[in-house]
Symmetry: C2
Subunit: 120 residues, 2 copies
DNA sequence: CCCTTCTATCGTTAATTCACGATAGACGAT
DNA sequence: ATCGTCTATCGTGAATTAACGATAGAAGGG
């Protein structure tokens, strides 16, 4: 009984974890679901670090819009910012990016289902 | 001159390709930017194939909503559907998924910038 | 103190998203 | 033909998103 309950709890835990991982993936994906935000992440990956103003120069958007996009990426955990005088210095959060990449890589067919394709 | 122009064209082509890849990534990400759509893709990956009705049973959403989510995933190219009598049989589009995974995996720091993190 | 730089936030507007119920149309069975 | 199953589409309403200009507040310099 107690062992069976333990088994149920473990199963419940896995289902919860799966649900959480799904929501996490959706959250990251949503944050990257806009071209400007993709470009921001790539820009940040390509250089040491950068300021909001650098991005404003780089993207064809108003400063306030860029700031909003930065906020979305930050809330999704994909980037982080360090205050530097009157400026903020942004960079990608490596662990969160790796987590996202892992979640995406985990989208794989189940056992025995590789390369199946329905007749379209 | 002609050689220089060819060089410019190649560079232009690369910039265009980069822009296209960015938009492509954003498109895929946007399609997966909702928990129900993540769950749909996972469900399809876990089984041979499935019908809209199977998903309606699986998700806590109305049939019309499920159908709309399927449409979004289909328009993003991540899934495809084959008509089967009065039903439609859906499955994941393996090449599009692999493309998405490749684009995500390509989000990497530039040369000499590995594991950099700003002081947050 | 004033001025400049820098960025986040606010408010606004228009467009898009997301959920639902109703329904049309395709298909198969009788 | 009718009926049932199945799904896409339509219309609706509420919430969210994405763009912008204006502005407040932080920080630094003279």
């Amino acid at each position: 009984m107690a062992a069976k309950r333990g088994y149920r709890d473990a199963e419940q835990g896995r289902a919860q974890e799966r649900l959480r991982a799904g929501a996490e993936l959706a959250g990251f994906a949503k944050a990257l679901g806009h071209p400007a935000r993709v470009e921001i992440v790539r820009f940040l990956l390509a250089r040491d670090s950068c300021m909001c103003g650098d991005l404003v120069d780089h993207l064809p958007l108003a400063q306030s819009t860029v700031s909003q996009h930065l906020r979305i990426l930050k809330e999704a955990g994909l980037i982080q910012g360090a205050i530097d005088g009157p400026r903020v210095c942004y960079c990608v959060a490596p662990r969160a990016l790796a987590r996202f990449q892992g979640l995406v890589a985990d989208l794989r067919p189940g056992p025995g289902l590789a390369d199946r394709e329905c007749e379209a």
